[in-house]
Structure formats: structure tokens, C-alpha cells
């Protein structure tokens, strides 16, 4: 469960988000919104990547401001268009995430095999296509022991077979490991394979339940 309180986010003088209070219970949420509505800003804000006014509390007592390290250990995020150093290999990046997020190598290896990332992860990232890069970023989002995973446009640029695999990984994490998800996507989901706890939109600088 994640609770946002008195959130204000400005870019310069432009107010992008103004959320007095909003609570996501445990579950899988589809975060919708028009281009520029503030979805990615909201995701980055919850992920601890950008500064903001207000407070975000995970599981009732883990504050992003006061317990930053504990909070970041339990919240994972992948960007819509991830950017990594071109000379680093996928294996090296995965190793770094396992080390800092206290991840399990065997579990990660299993995810890599499912998404077929292990076939190219020894190569430098500069040689990857956008789909290969995206799949690597998805692996990184599942590393560690998160309570909440934020996925920004997870289905963009990946092939149909990988989309199916992503559905099954989300399902496994949500129902077996009790991990919550907030997912943004402009594409429709296959409801037979993923069932959402709720759909919310970012509109007029606020979050609205649909």
C-alpha cells in the first residue's frame, strides 16, 4: 500500500501535480492519462528519482523522506525509454542491481531465461535494439525484494512472445510474491492474462479513480 500526501510537483513555475491525498491499496493498477498529464512524473516521484513537495509512505510506515534507503529497497521502477551506458554489458548492469537491491542471482537468471535476455546479456548495451534494451530494463525492475514495482510503458517495443512472458511474470509476482504494481500503458491489456485491481487517471494535476 502506498499513500501520497500533499504532493506538489513543479517544473520551474509550471505545476504538474497537485495531489492532496491518494492511497493505492495493494494490487495491480493501470495508470492512464494523456501525453503530458504527469504519469511519468508521478512514477518517477514515487520511485524517488525526482524531488517534490509532500510525503510518500509505503506500507503505512516507510517514508520516502525519513526512511529513504528502506523505501528504495522496496520500490522498483523501470523507465519507458531506459538509457544505460553503451559500453556496459547487460550482465554487468544486472550484477550491479543484484548487489545493490539485495537480489537473488538464481531468480534473476530465471527471469533472464524467460525473456531470453540471457542470449545477449554478455554483449555491450550499445549493440542492443530498443526491444532488447526494454527487456533488460524489465529484468532490472524485478530484481530484489520489492513490495511495489512501477512499470512505465512496459509493453512498448517488445515482441509479442515477450509481451506474453511479461504478463506471466507480473502475474507471478502479484499473486505469489504479493507485489503491487502501478503500470502505465497507452496500449490495451489482455484482460484474460492480467486483471487489474483498479484503473486510475492523472488528469488536472490530480489522480482520479476510474
Amino acid at each position: 500500500m502506498i499513500e501520497l500526501t500533499e504532493i506538489k510537483k513543479n517544473y520551474g513555475s509550471h505545476l504538474v501535480l497537485d495531489i492532496p491525498r491518494y492511497k493505492f491499496e495493494n494490487g495491480i493498477y493501470w495508470l492512464k492519462g494523456e501525453n503530458g498529464s504527469g504519469k511519468t512524473t508521478l512514477m518517477k516521484l514515487i520511485a524517488g528519482l525526482i524531488p517534490f513537495e509532500g510525503e510518500v509512505i509505503l506500507n503505512k510506515n516507510i517514508s520516502i523522506l525519513k526512511n529513504r534507503i528502506d523505501y528504495l529497497r522496496k520500490v522498483n521502477y523501470t523507465e519507458a525509454e531506459p538509457l544505460y551506458p553503451s559500453f556496459v554489458t547487460g550482465d554487468e548492469l544486472i550484477q550491479l542491481f543484484i548487489w545493490t537491491k539485495d537480489g537473488d542471482f538464481a531468480d534473476t537468471k530465471n527471469l533472464m531465461q524467460q525473456l531470453k535476455v540471457d542470449t545477449y546479456s554478455h554483449q555491450p548495451i550499445g549493440t542492443y535494439s530498443s526491444g532488447m534494451n526494454k527487456k533488460l530494463s524489465l529484468i532490472l525492475a524485478f530484481i530484489g525484494k520489492p513490495d511495489l514495482i512501477l512499470l512505465d510503458e512496459p509493453l512498448v517495443t517488445i515482441d509479442t512472445a515477450s509481451v506474453e512472458t511479461v504478463y506471466s511474470i507480473i502475474h507471478e509476482f502479484a499473486y505469489e510474491k504479493k507485489v503491487s504494481f502501478i503500470i502505465t500503458s497507452h496500449h490495451d491489456f489482455d484482460y484474460a492474462k492480467i486483471s487489474f485491481t483498479g484503473t486510475v487517471t492523472v488528469q488536472d494535476k490530480m489522480i482520479h479513480a476510474v
Binding site: 525526482i50 524531488p51 523507465e79 538509457l83 551506458p85
Partner: protein, 369 residues
């Protein structure tokens, strides 16, 4: 022809000076700002005389000029490859000799600060009857401008070919951890700045150690020489910070303490300065007493970390950054003169820790756009 010259000025020469204004200002300050007004002429006459009298020093000076010329040509190469300058390939329709004249003239304009100073060197050389040295310098400059013009002309004819690159750099295949990401970024993407920095840094240290032959041990000489070498690294530090913002932004969401982030950067800068440490070790015990060596290591790492942490607050343009570097260098200079090393260490460590705590998570790249 005049129109071509005007266009080249607008797309290459002016942007070159705009882009490097801060660096040029800094060099100007080093050359003319650190000596009292009444002593400037005497100071530069001594410099010029030393250069003309010592073939090895003249060689070093020519090497520095060559680096500057190489940087100018590289700037044009980079500009030529930009999509908005594709139209310049139409200038390949000019006669080759006319185009060579224009491109050589482009280099002359970029190389002007060196040429202006060389006029004084030539004047001194001729007045002292050093005709050989004067002709050597003149021939050298003609060669540089001609070669630079040729490189630019060829780049216009063959836009996709790399005419200057440092691909002889070895490629390493070792497992990279986070500190090594920075070092590999430097080796892969900052080769030219790294070569210029390391050349300047090592020359600065060697010049200090060979120039100050004191009859008693004075640790301040080593500290000052090393500080000049460190100032030379400011561009690499700036590029490291840009690299962090662009490619390592994901590390901001790592669940690690500020102390661990600090240690990561300590390792980065220890690795970056390892060639300097090797040179410094070789000066023991002639110029440095072994017991003072750790002080140099700590000073080197803290100095670069301080520059790095200053960029946590805001990463503006290079000009503002160079002004800040000048202030830090000037403050360090005077503190070293007074042997106030403890003050340097406490102030630098305190500021670095403050920056991590106050600005690291508050930084937002979009504000800078």
C-alpha cells in the same frame, strides 16, 4: 569566396569561441592574471627566453599548441557531422585549392590566441638574433595551419571518414563495477579530453618539480604542482557529472547511503588520478617525503570530489563552472601557501558531505534545460 568565409565563421569559428570562452578565459587568467601588472612584461620575457633557450621546453610548448590545434580541428569535425550542417558539403564544389585556402584560414582564426602570443615570441627571437628558433616556430605554425586546413577540407569531401581518432587506445574486457563505469566512460567517450588532461597534468607536475630546485624540503611545492594538475581535471569532472545525469540516473533510486555513494566516487577519483600518483611516487624522496604522500592522495581525491559535489547543486554551463573552479583553485592556492592542509581537508569534506545530504536527491536535470 567571401560568402564561404562568412559562413565558415558563423558555423565554426564563432561557436568555437563561444563554446571555449570559459577555458580560454581561464588560460588567459593563468598567463596574465597571476602576476602583478608591473611584472607582466618581465615575467613573459623570462618565459619566452626559457622557451627559446631550451629545446625540450620549446618541444613541450609546441606539443601544447598542437593539442590546441587538434582540439580546434576536432571541433570542426564534430560540427560537420551535425545534421544542421549537412548543407556545408556543397562547399566541396569549390576548387580544391580555394577550399583549402578557406579551411586553412578557418584554423588560423581558431588558432589566433596562439598566433598572437607567437608574434611576441618571434619578436623576441629576432631581436636576440635567434633566427633558427624564429624560423622553426614560423614553419611550425604554417605547417599546423596547412595540415589543419587539409584535415577540414578532407572532412568536407569525405564526411563519414574519421580523420583524427585515438582508436589505438586499448579496449579492456574486464567486469565493470559502478566506479569503473566512469573510468570506461572516460576511456570510451572522453578520449581526447582525457589525453589533453593527462598531458597537461603530467607536464604541470614535471614542470613544478624540475622548476623548483630548492635547497631545503618544502612540501608546498609538491602540493602546488599537484593542485595545477588537479585543476586540469575539471573538464573530466564536469563530463563525469553529465554522464551521471544522463546515463546513471537510475542509481539515484538505489537503496544505498550517501556514504556509500561518497565511497564510490572516492574510488572513481583514486582510479582517475592513479597516473599522477605513480609520477608522484617516483619523486620520493627527492621532492616528497614518504610520510607526506598520503596527504597528496587525500588532497587529490577531495579536490576533485569537491568540484564534483559542486555540480550536485546545479550543472549550468561550462563557463560558470570554470569560474567556480578558479575560485576553488585560488582558495586552495592560498591555503597551501599557508600550509593550512587541515583546514582544506575539513572544509572540503564538510562541503562534500553537505552537498550529498542537501542537493543529491534535490537535483533535477530538467531544471537546467
Amino acid at each position: 569566396m567571401k560568402q564561404v568565409s562568412l559562413i565558415f565563421n558563423k558555423v565554426w569559428v564563432l561557436p568555437f569561441y563561444q563554446r571555449h570562452f570559459g577555458v580560454l578565459l581561464f588560460v588567459f587568467f593563468l598567463m596574465f592574471g597571476i602576476v602583478e601588472g608591473s611584472q607582466i612584461i618581465g615575467y613573459h620575457l623570462s618565459l619566452i627566453n626559457a622557451t627559446l633557450e631550451s629545446p625540450s621546453l620549446l618541444l613541450v610548448v609546441m606539443l601544447i599548441w598542437s593539442l590546441y590545434a587538434g582540439k580546434s580541428v576536432q571541433f570542426v569535425f564534430k560540427k560537420i557531422s551535425e545534421p544542421d550542417q549537412q548543407f556545408l558539403f556543397v562547399s566541396a564544389c569549390l576548387k580544391k585549392s580555394e577550399l583549402l585556402l578557406q579551411t586553412s584560414f578557418v584554423l588560423v582564426k581558431m588558432y589566433l590566441p596562439v598566433l598572437v602570443y607567437s608574434v611576441f615570441i618571434e619578436g623576441v627571437a629576432f631581436s636576440q638574433g635567434r633566427i633558427g628558433e624564429a624560423l622553426l616556430i614560423l614553419f611550425y605554425h604554417l605547417l599546423v595551419c596547412y595540415a589543419g586546413g587539409m584535415f577540414i577540407k578532407n572532412a568536407i569531401f569525405h564526411p563519414n571518414k574519421k580523420w583524427i581518432s585515438f582508436n589505438w587506445f586499448p579496449s579492456f574486457k574486464i567486469k565493470k563495477s559502478l566506479p569503473l563505469f566512469y573510468i570506461f566512460h572516460a576511456l570510451n567517450n572522453l578520449r581526447n579530453p582525457l589525453i589533453v588532461t593527462k598531458t597537461f597534468s603530467l607536464l604541470a607536475m614535471m614542470a613544478f618539480f624540475s622548476g623548483f630546485q630548492l635547497d631545503h624540503y618544502d612540501f608546498r611545492v609538491a602540493m602546488l604542482g599537484f593542485m595545477f594538475a588537479l585543476v586540469g581535471h575539471c573538464v573530466i569532472v564536469f563530463e563525469f557529472r553529465k554522464f551521471e545525469i544522463t546515463y546513471l540516473n537510475f542509481t539515484r533510486a538505489f537503496p544505498v547511503s550517501n556514504f556509500r555513494r561518497f565511497i564510490t566516487l572516492v574510488i572513481v577519483y583514486l582510479l582517475l588520478l592513479s597516473p599522477e600518483f605513480v609520477v608522484l611516487v617516483r619523486t620520493v624522496p627527492e621532492h616528497i617525503v614518504l610520510i607526506d604522500f598520503p596527504v597528496l592522495i587525500i588532497f587529490g581525491v577531495l579536490f576533485l570530489l569537491l568540484l564534483h559535489s559542486l555540480l550536485y547543486r546545479s550543472i549550468g554551463d561550462m563557463e560558470n563552472y570554470m569560474i567556480t573552479v578558479s575560485i576553488v583553485a585560488a582558495a586552495s592556492f592560498f591555503l597551501i601557501l599557508f600550509s593550512a592542509y587541515l583546514i582544506i581537508f575539513i572544509a572540503a569534506t564538510g562541503f562534500i558531505m553537505f552537498s550529498f545530504a542537501k542537493w543529491f536527491h534535490q537535483f533535477e536535470a530538467i531544471e537546467e534545460e
